[in-house]
């Protein structure tokens, strides 16, 4: 314990020598920081008789507190004597504009990057389509009830704005030789009036995989991988039967609600699940329309609405904000 006295004296001595903040920092580290000896003193304390233990214990605490007070006093002293600076560094820096990607396109790129890493090729298709590519080739003849869900904007008889990215399935099949894996992003248009969840223009990503041997298992594996990577490992995926004229069997994919973790809450309509995409195995008739032999190839296809996924990802409540493009909204979406 004699060393305690020495320790205290050397501290006072060294404190007098301190003239700069860096000296001060060094001293602080030495006497009250990790390098200090207080731990050492406290452990020595244990070996003393009870009576002495109390006396020394009090002494240790008092000196330590005093050291801290003296250090603080010195710090204030140093601040006031610090040389006046040539610059006022509290003035704002010359920070440039902060750029941002549009949230929907940011999400699109993110999704595409995941599929690229799974070996998919990115393709594009036209926004103005013919009825053949948009409907007939996809097994949706005129007067098919499925056309009700995809009320379209017509430009001339037989020509319309594509209602989904699925016509790209046919275009890709015409252009490429199987086996292949492609994703096709793009704008789509439907005659839906604007409201919080509908917009006459929206973005989709279509996926198409064609090879000799493809099963629902390949589809499920691919999309589960996508969901895990995009939404996070903790999210669950549910495949349930669905219906699309151009796939058979068809499925809808749900992801467990991120807000309630699947227990059910307001954002998931108390179901615990959020619908994110539709998919299925390519219908044999679609292969025929694209000039493929359905006996020789199989394939799977999927399509997802990018706005919806963006809204889920970022908790955006109204689809119209995407087209409003208020810079205050936009600037939040930096590169992630």
């Amino acid at each position: 314990m004699r060393e305690l006295e020495e320790y205290w004296e050397s501290f006072q001595e060294e404190l007098r020598e301190v003239n700069t903040l860096s000296d001060w920092n060094y001293l602080k580290g030495k006497y009250v920081g990790k390098k200090s000896r207080w731990g050492e003193f406290l452990s020595e304390l244990k070996e003393l008789p009870a009576e002495e233990k109390r006396v020394w214990g009090r002494k240790i605490n008092q000196l330590k507190r005093e050291m801290e007070e003296l250090l603080e006093k010195k710090y204030q002293e140093l601040l006031s004597t610090e040389e006046k600076s040539e610059i006022d560094i509290t003035l704002p820096g010359k920070k440039g504009w902060s750029g941002s990607f549009h949230p929907v396109l940011l999400t699109r790129d993110w999704i595409l990057a995941i599929f690229e890493s799974l070996g998919f090729r990115i393709e594009e298709g036209p926004e103005i389509e013919t009825e053949f590519y948009n409907f007939e080739a996809l097994n949706i003849p005129p007067d098919h009830p499925a056309r009700d869900d995809q009320d379209s904007f017509y430009l001339a008889p037989g020509y319309l704005l594509r209602t989904h990215t699925s016509p790209a399935q046919i275009r890709v099949m015409e252009k490429m030789e199987p086996p292949f894996k492609v994703v096709v992003p793009g704008k789509c248009y439907r005659r839906d009036a604007f409201d919080a969840t509908h917009s006459p223009m929206f973005h989709q990503i279509e996926g198409l995989v064609v090879a000799e041997d493809i099963s629902m298992g390949d589809l499920k594996g691919t999309l589960e991988t996508f969901v895990r990577r995009f939404f996070g490992e903790e999210r669950k995926t549910r495949f349930r039967p669905g219906y699309f004229p151009f796939t058979e069997p068809s499925a809808e994919v749900d992801v467990s609600c991120g807000v309630c973790g699947g227990k059910g809450c307001r954002s998931c309509g108390y179901s615990g699940w959020l619908e994110i995409l539709g998919c299925g195995l390519v219908h044999p008739q679609v292969f025929v329309h694209a000039g493929y032999d359905p006996q020789k190839v199989r394939g799977f296809a999927f399509g997802m609405g990018v706005e919806r996924i963006t809204m889920l990802k970022f908790g955006i409540k109204d689809i119209r904000w995407f087209l409003e493009n208020d810079v205050q909204f936009l600037e939040q979406f930096k590169i992630f």
Binding site: I128, D149, A156, M201, M216, G221, F239, L281, V327
Partner: protein, 782 residues
């Protein structure tokens, strides 16, 4: 579509599964349950027993008193719907306010009918749970291919197949009179109506439906009307076969005709709206005029009223496409049309009628026999499939036995002679959507469970190749603009005719034939037109400093393909580039815009020599402050200050710099191949030259003279840069000063001052040739 657990049990007596679990089961089987209703949500008020008293019958309606726990309410009820005095009636109580079931609450309103308590009860008693039971109602989303599931029976079959429960159809009994119908039936359009049946009922008692019917229809979201209408509706919800009851007394000529409408023929439908019909529509008519639109809605005149004494009950099959077209053309999608257009079960047509007769019981007397035209279409759909292929399709193993069990459960008949590789099945009459082996695979997969599919990643090798050049360039340009602080936008590509006209004639542009509104009836021919709205929103919200860009398509009528789309890049800048207002000089100007474009063209892979900026106007640009960009003499875009007319009209407070580039051109233009340049390490020599020129002289002219001298004399020059430009001060009127710097550097040796000075003299000599040019003889050397 809603189904009630209670009704479901009528078809599936052994069903014993909590409502929540049933919902999960249905969803996982492809019948997505969107909402689970509790009975209290449909009848939101406690149901109590009240006593009816002092009933006075009037000509139009009856008046009466409703007594409840010492309170008395006076009510008016349609004569036919007023129960006997002293009846116990059901009232919904909302904190002291009575709702007289099934409809109505207002004091002055005349209520259609009151409903009596179906069991002995005391006035004042609360009987909610006794009346409603513990039913659960599921709201199901039925996909377009599953018309058979637009019924309780259909859903029961699905549940039965999954849970391995037997489903049943309630037996029906009714007594027919001896006399046959005094009606005739004629089907003039068997192509649109393969099968039509009619049953004639006499001595009809139209009355309010009993409580259980009112309750079930309310659960299913249908409005109770009277026993006849309610039973036809209930049976439709049960079986899926739409039915229609006509007041037989208004059918002229005692004749029912199924025919196409005459062009322009009119009919007032049940909803009270007069409909103009076309010759493509199928109608049910009498000897003179239409009395109903086949499969869509009946006519007002033949509606069942409390005074109806005889009924013509229709059950038929109408062509799906015809019903769909008619319903669409008339803009009326009904419960009936929704079922016909998805297809009804040809084998349940008359059962549905008979079930109505059964339910009506003594309230009507069926004439003997049926009026029938045609026969139920018999399309036998046999499908052969290989169990091995099904497993390959699904990606999981299912035994042959389970496949057979699933299909049998769904009503498929297995061909007993099926052996070995394939199984042949006959699809049930209600499953017109099944005709291919993949359809069978889906059925097996659905019931076996999609959760049992084993996930894997595709097992083949495919080289996706390099990224498409266009996609890659677009990516790079976007990333650069974001790095430079611009924000990416997505504007709405549909614009108003007024905006479209600003750009050019209507003939060149693409008009939407069926727009949602005039404001959105043209495809943008220029990105500026769709982005104006975005600029405006930001301007009005006081966002003053920004750079925005969009990559999107513009549309125009074309020569070969009738419509052309072209990818463009749009840029808009305004305000300060650097936010701190305390430092001056950060304002956006035209050279920032130009610089940005130069950077983009550089990233896109073009050499500086290929690029040329020329002063020129352009769409939406201020003519005196705008330019054209050329790449190898081809126009690649335009930019400048947004024209003052736009600024004024859109109410922008500040100058906005805009530019639009043709991205397709940037991508298709041939680019120079990369050539590595040696890094030069010899020192440079720098010379500054200042000169006075006529005001009208442009820097480009001076630069050209200097560069041509340099190349002619083979000078070793690294750069020619302008560093000062000014007018006024000591510069004479009509003149301006250019100062520029020439950096000399040789890749092979250190240059000496003498040779550099000689070169500078040559440059000056050539410059002096230019008219009106004066050298400022103050040379600075370093």
């Amino acid at each position: 579509m809603r189904i009630s657990y209670g009704i479901l049990k009528r078809f599936l007596p052994d069903l014993d599964l909590p409502g929540e679990e049933l919902a999960t089961l249905l969803t996982e089987q492809g019948l997505m349950v969107e909402k689970i209703w509790k009975t209290e949500e449909i009848f939101p008020f406690p149901l109590v027993v009240a006593t009816l008293d002092n009933v006075k019958k009037g000509i139009l309606y009856s008046e009466g008193e409703v007594h409840f726990r010492g309170e008395v309410w006076n009510i008016k009820v349609d004569n036919w719907g007023m129960p006997e005095e002293k009846s116990k009636i059901i009232v919904g109580m909302e904190e002291g306010i009575p709702h007289f079931l099934p409809w109505g609450g207002g004091r002055e309103e005349i209520i259609d009918f009151l409903i009596t308590v179906p069991f002995p009860a005391e006035e004042g008693e609360e009987v909610t749970s006794l009346l409603l039971g513990d039913d659960v109602i599921l709201d199901i989303e039925v996909t377009a291919n599953r018309g058979d599931c637009l019924s309780s029976l259909g859903v029961a079959r699905e549940v039965g197949a999954k849970l391995d429960l037997k489903w049943q159809i309630p037996p029906v009994t009714y007594e027919e009179a001896d006399t046959p119908a005094d009606f005739s039936l004629e089907n003039q359009a068997p192509d649109l109506c393969p099968y039509y049946t009619g049953k004639h009922l006499r001595r009809l008692s139209v009355r309010p439906s009993p409580w259980w019917v009112v309750k079930e229809l309310s659960f299913l979201g249908l409005r109770p009307v009277n026993n006849v209408v309610d039973f036809t509706n209930l049976v439709m919800m049960e079986i899926g076969q739409p039915l229609h009851a006509f007041d037989a007394s208004v059918i002229k000529g005692r004749k029912v005709v199924v025919r196409r409408a005459q062009e322009g023929e009119k009919l007032i439908t049940l909803d009270g709206i007069e409909r103009e019909l076309s010759s493509e529509m199928l109608v049910i008519a009498d000897a003179e005029r239409p009395i109903g639109i086949a499969g869509v809605m009946g006519g007002k005149e033949s509606e069942i009223t409390p005074f109806t004494s005889e009924v013509f009950l229709e059950a038929a099959i109408f062509d799906r496409v015809a019903v769909r077209k008619t319903a669409k053309a008339l803009g009326m999608r009904t419960e009936a049309s929704a079922r016909f257009e998805r297809g009804v079960d040809p084998e349940k047509v008359t059962y549905a009628s008979r079930r109505v007769l059964h339910l009506l019981g003594k309230d009507g007397e069926p004439a003997s026999g049926w009026l029938i035209a045609g026969s139920p279409p018999e399309e036998e759909r046999r499908v052969s499939f290989s169990p091995q292929e099904v497993e390959k399709t699904l990606g999981c193993s299912v035994t042959r036995e389970e496949m057979i069990k699933i299909l049998t459960g769904l009503g498929f008949e297995i061909d007993s002679s099926s052996r070995g590789e394939t199984i042949q099945v006959k699809a049930p009459s209600w499953r017109s959507d099944v005709y291919l082996p993949v359809d069978i695979a889906e059925e097996i997969g659905r019931i076996h469970g999609y959760d049992k599919i084993i996930p894997r990643l595709p097992q083949f090798s495919f080289d996706p190749g390099n990224k498409d050049k266009g996609i890659l360039t677009e990516e790079k340009l976007r990333r650069h603009l974001v790095d430079r602080g611009l924000k990416e936008i997505v504007s709405f590509p549909l614009i108003s005719p007024r905006l479209a006209e600003l750009w050019g004639t209507k003939e060149e542009q693409i008009e939407i034939k069926n727009p949602l509104s005039q404001e959105q009836s043209y495809l943008r021919p220029h990105l500026l037109l769709s982005t104006l709205e975005v600029l405006k929103i930001n301007a009005t919200r006081g966002r003053n400093n920004w750079g925005l860009f969009e990559i999107g398509k513009v549309f125009r009528k074309g020569l070969n393909f009738p419509f052309q789309e072209e990818k463009r890049l749009f840029i808009a800048l305004t305000g300060y580039l650097l936010p701190p207002l305390w430092q001056k000089g950060g304002e956006v100007d035209i050279f920032l815009l130009k610089g940005l474009i130069e950077e983009l063209l550089d990233i896109a892979g073009f050499e500086q020599e290929e690029i040329c900026f020329r002063e020129d106007g352009g769409f939406g640009l201020e003519p005196s402050s705008s330019f054209r960009v050329e790449i190898s003499k081809q126009e690649a875009g335009r930019g400048g200050i947004l024209s003052s007319s736009f600024i004024r009209e859109w109410g922008f407070g500040a100058e906005i710099y805009v530019a639009e580039l043709n991205l397709d051109l940037l991508i298709t233009e041939e680019k120079k191949t990369f050539q590595l340049q040696e890094v030069v390490t010899f020192p440079s020599v720098v010379r500054d030259i200042s000169l006075l020129v006529d005001e009208a002289t442009r820097w480009g002219e001076i630069e050209e003279i200097v560069k041509s001298t340099i190349s002619r004399e083979r000078m070793e020059v690294e750069a020619v840069e302008i560093f000062d430009l000014f007018q006024g001060g000591n510069v004479p009127q009509g003149k301006k000063n250019f100062s520029f710097r020439v950096t000399f550097r040789s890749p092979e040796r250190t240059l000496n001052d003498e040779e550099v000075d000689k070169w500078v003299q040559k440059i000056k000599a050539d410059l002096k040739e230019k008219e009106g040019l004066l050298l400022r003889e103050e040379l600075v050397s370093f």
